[in-house]
């Protein structure tokens, strides 16, 4: 392979993503301050040596909130991607393996889900099920499903025409077994790239849902919720909006860079240009 092994895109993307995940993990065991402790006297205080990112309108430490928000964003979008891939990939494999009626049904169903704008659909689902982190996961997961179904089916169909699949059929293997042994491993790199990109979309969607009050509920911290709270105070304390906003932008950028970098490295369709 003549392409360089590690592109700057991949390195920067991976560095940001690792920081994001590390922040989320650290928040499990330690945060600079307890976010349930209100310091009303110093509310809306700017950054100081003790509170690096200042205090919010309840006097909670913003740095601690950002760390907890990272945990919330990570868990919601990670589970949503796993849910989307967990349902979407098998459906795509099934559609590609069976063709005919099953294929039609699966694909038309995913068309229907696709027909709704993702965020509107998520708002609909959380409006029906009620707000909360778990329902946000379900809502985001649902619109991840057709993305994975389509990608899996499309690429699987092209793998099904390979001679080695015909060889496996001549060896008496059934469609399910071929899907697991030959097709799925062939799709792995493609799916990893897509999962990374869906992950970043999940972070945005989670922030959006929390922003409109349908995501994680207080006292759980969420970047979207922090933004919503800061909005009313933006004239008095602009920094309140900047820190969670930066957290979202940098995380999403990092995940996208990681996805693009991985695509350059892994996507077999780009290999043909060698």
């Amino acid at each position: 392979m003549s392409r360089s092994r590690l592109s700057p895109t991949l390195i920067i993307g991976a560095a940001i993503s690792v920081t994001f995940v590390a922040a989320a993990l650290v928040s499990l065991v330690w945060t600079p301050y307890d976010v349930t402790a209100f310091d009303i006297g110093h509310r809306l205080q700017g950054p100081t040596a003790a509170h690096w990112l200042g205090l919010d309108h309840f006097g909670r430490d913003v740095a601690s909130m950002i760390l907890l928000g990272a945990r919330n964003a990570l868990s919601v979008s990670l589970v949503a991607v796993l849910l989307g891939a967990g349902v979407g990939v098998p459906l795509g494999l099934l559609a590609a393996a069976s063709r005919g009626l099953v294929d039609e049904l699966v694909m038309r169903a995913s068309d229907v889900v696709f027909a709704f704008p993702a965020l509107i659909l998520a708002i609909l689902i959380t409006a029906v099920l009620g707000p909360g982190a778990i329902n946000a996961v379900i809502a985001i997961g649902v619109f991840n499903v057709p993305v994975f179904t389509r990608l899996t089916r499309g690429s699987a169909l092209s793998l099904w025409t390979r001679d080695y699949v015909l060889a496996a059929r001549a060896a008496g293997k059934g469609p399910m077994r071929i899907s697991l042994e030959h097709i799925a491993p062939g799709l792995a790199s493609l799916l990893i790239v897509q999962a990374t990109l869906q992950f970043s979309l999940g972070v945005i969607a989670e922030a959006g849902l929390s922003y409109v009050g349908l995501g994680a509920q207080p006292p759980a911290a969420s970047w979207g919720r922090m933004l919503a709270d800061a909005q009313t105070l933006v004239a008095v304390a602009p920094l309140q909006a900047i820190f969670p906003g930066l957290a979202i932008v940098i995380t999403v950028l990092g995940l996208n860079l990681l996805g693009d970098g991985l695509r350059d490295r892994l996507d077999p369709r780009l290999d043909e240009e060698r």
Binding site: S2, R162, D163, Y164, L166, A167, A168, R169, A170, A171, G172, K173, H182, P185, G186
Partner: protein
């Protein structure tokens, strides 16, 4: 007219062309032969000034008195398509699928001449008429044409401005035998009419012997021998040329003769196969009948050739025989029992398959052990890991590969070795019949001869029968006991190979035999 001296091409740290010296006079046809990877195509691309990215080219290529290597890109671009034309192997990828053929030919004219749209169209029409597409309108798209017609369009693009030099890189390899002969005749006629020179690049010694005035034999980036065609083939002075010529003609010797009275091991009785018609919205079109009722028999240990052009129904018949697709009427019997897609999988053991392209037929992510062991799935008794390993090693030994090969991946082997792996996979369940779908077509002559030897040896040793599906009449003549000729879904002629070749009954068979390049015949025609 063309004078190449000390041409060196380096890609990365690899020396791909090691100082070629070649000359070509006006009106001459130069054949360049060699195995894949010998640098034939690189030479052609260097002449065009289109070496792969990152390659450095040294030496000199003088064309009509100018050194092409010193010329700036813009100058070279002006030469390409105008003074030098190029025809590639695969016409489907060489043509733009979203442009009409007329526009693609006219584009070359408009690029190089101050021609109006109408003049360019007229020139395109004339060029297409010249290549024998007089009844095809300019407004057609490449996908609406057959492979042979597409290659004619590619040739029209190359010759529309009457270039002084035409380079054709394996121009007939992707085409059917009878089409091959027509395309070759067309190329030769065009260069003769224009007084142009032709560089014909091919892996096929017989084809070059038939067409070229001079021949250059390439190996590992060097020309090992060059000279006038007749003299070169008469003398066969260089050992490599001698080996190539011998391998092209060599056919394996078989010790065992099949018993003509034995019960057939694989049998098709009036097999009918339909494909679903073009699909409309929510409805199916009328089915298209591909096989109207085909019968054949293969006896134990027999080698049967099935020949025919693409679209003749060979592959469809093969898929029906392998019970990969259901048949609409008639039946396939394997080892005396009816064989359908729903037959118990144990029954598949008796019939295994080897494909044309070993790159595509071996899953690149699997080790050789896992690949070769895949059909063991068809056996009733489950084998332990050590038993499985032992069987894989035993069968690898049979096809001439070391036992360590089992732990490696397909990409670590050469094309010939990969085909041996594919043969090992077919053999591992000790089948009665192996179907070989163009199994040696993608291999170089020397490797092909080795694989054919191997197949003959295995047949002698194991008594396995082969169904050899191919378009290569040379292989059929050398290896098979019996031949079936297929045209438009029907077997139009069948009989013992020697008899069919000596006295073909069906005109199509005669046409196939005559169209196949043959070294001895080509040299005899020259003398």
């Amino acid at each position: 007219m063309l004078e190449i001296q000390g041409l060196k091409l380096t890609l990365g740290d690899k020396l791909i062309l090691k100082g070629l010296t070649l000359g070509l006079d006006a009106g001459q046809v130069l054949g360049v032969v060699g195995e894949s990877g010998s640098g034939k195509s690189m030479t052609a691309l260097s002449i065009l000034g289109l070496p792969p990215r990152g390659a450095t080219v040294e030496g000199s290529i003088r064309f009509e008195g100018r050194d092409l290597l010193g010329l700036p890109d813009a100058e070279l671009a002006r030469l390409r398509g105008d003074r030098i034309g190029m025809v590639f192997q695969e016409p489907m990828t060489a043509l733009n699928p979203v442009m009409t053929i007329g526009a693609q030919v006219a584009e070359v004219v408009r690029l190089h001449r101050k021609a109006s749209r109408a003049e360019a169209r007229a020139a395109a029409r004339k060029a297409l008429d010249r290549v024998g597409l007089a009844d095809i309108p300019l407004s057609r798209y490449p996908h609406e044409l057959s492979g042979g017609q597409r290659q004619r369009v590619a040739i029209a693009i190359a010759v529309v401005l009457c270039p002084r030099l035409l380079i054709a890189d394996e121009p007939t390899t992707a085409l059917d035998v009878t089409t091959q002969a027509h395309i070759l005749d067309l190329l030769l006629r065009l260069v003769r009419e224009d007084g142009a020179s032709l560089i014909l690049i091919s892996h096929d010694l017989a084809l070059v012997a038939q067409a070229a005035d001079r021949v250059a034999v390439m190996k590992d980036g060097e020309i090992v021998e060059q000279g006038d065609t007749a003299a070169l083939f008469q003398a066969l002075a260089h050992p490599y040329t001698r080996q190539l010529a011998a391998d092209a003609e060599r056919m394996p010797v078989r010790a065992r003769k099949p018993d003509p009275a034995a019960a057939p091991v694989l049998e098709a009785r009036e097999v009918v196969r339909d494909y679903p018609g073009p699909r409309g919205f929510l409805r199916k079109g009328a089915p298209v009948r591909v096989l109207p009722g085909v019968s054949l028999e293969i006896r134990p240990g027999e080698i049967v050739g099935l020949v025919g052009e693409s679209g003749s129904g060979k592959s469809t018949l093969l898929r029906a025989l392998l019970a990969l697709d259901p048949v609409q009427d008639g039946e396939v019997r394997l080892a005396g029992e009816v064989f359908t897609p729903s037959s118990p999988r144990q029954r598949r053991r008796a019939l295994q398959l080897v494909f044309q392209d070993p790159n595509g037929s071996l899953d690149p992510r699997w080790t050789v052990e896992r690949l070769v062991a895949e059909p063991l799935h068809l056996l009733d008794d489950k084998l332990s890991a050590t038993e499985r390993r032992a069987r894989v090693e035993a069968v690898l030994a049979k096809v001439g590969l070391p036992r360590e090969a089992a732990d490696r991946y397909p990409h670590q082997f050469s094309g010939g070795q990969r085909q041996r792996i594919a043969i090992a996979r077919a053999l591992v369940v000790e089948p009665d019949v192996i179907a070989l779908d163009e199994a040696v077509s993608a291999l170089d002559v020397t490797v092909r001869a080795e694989v054919l030897d191997l197949l003959a040896r295995l047949s002698d040793a194991l008594g396995v029968a082969y169904l050899f599906v191919t378009h290569d009449m040379g292989v059929v003549r050398g290896l098979t006991d019996r031949v079936l000729v297929m045209q438009k879904g029907q077997i139009v002629e069948s009989g013992p190979t020697a008899e069919v070749f000596a006295d073909p009954r069906h005109p199509y068979t005669a046409q196939l035999i005559a169209a196949t390049p043959n070294l001895a015949r080509a040299l005899a025609a020259r003398a």
